[in-house]
Subunit: 159 residues, 2 copies
Amino acid sequence: MSRSDLSRSTCSVARTIEIVGDTWALMILREMFLGSHRFDELQQFTGASPLILSRRLRRFEAEGIVERRLYSEHPPRHEYRLTRKGRDLWPLIIALKEWGDQWLSGKGPPPVALRHTGCGQTTRPILVCSACGDPIDAITARPHLSAAMARERNALRSR
Amino acid sequence: MSRSDLSRSTCSVARTIEIVGDTWALMILREMFLGSHRFDELQQFTGASPLILSRRLRRFEAEGIVERRLYSEHPPRHEYRLTRKGRDLWPLIIALKEWGDQWLSGKGPPPVALRHTGCGQTTRPILVCSACGDPIDAITARPHLSAAMARERNALRSR
């Protein structure tokens, strides 16, 4: 399977990976959630090369994850803003952050703290079950494959 | 900045990306959370080449994300199991899944449904604030940089 085959997979994880599952796509998303919107800022803070950065931004635009907005007419300059679809990728960056804060950082405060504007408190977002509200994790959640997903996996197995 | 510089970043998101932020690392994690543990299964279901798969598994082992266990002595055969550190990456795969289910799939049921063993219900995990328990997202969470992180970003800005 090549990377591009992932976009045809039944699995929504594989299809998402094909769009955002690489180093620079993820770094660009982190940076946009930190409030950078201009090409030069995105380049400085992610360390992506201009070529890679413009490719990823074009792909994000094509996927409806970011939109370009003109912020200067003379000379014409654009900035990049996350759409609602793009903002919905926030839990992905938070998952990277929480794991890094937990497993890679020292004992001190995290490099980026989050404040919840709803309650005004410092927060560490946690995943809960939508049905009962209790915390949920890899041990307490069980995956059940749809018929289409099971068929696809059977076909891969018998190759 | 090269990809390897990310591991020296103050930012825990960047450091996590350096370890798991690529297509095949993410596909392997997805597959292990679906219950695959053997090299040939991981290869079949992710589509990674044997070379890439063995490199990623070695890195995961070095990082303490997976451990190898002998499951057959004659011939010697190993399987790969997520450690606690590895299982803590589950929210990352769930973030990919939920976004894909929401934005890339059709109207039907998701390709993989989750059941919460705690309450027995089908679940769509959601992120909530650890302080007040309300749902939290990119709009209602505000990032605050630590002094170390702000210094690092000032240095990048003035390059």
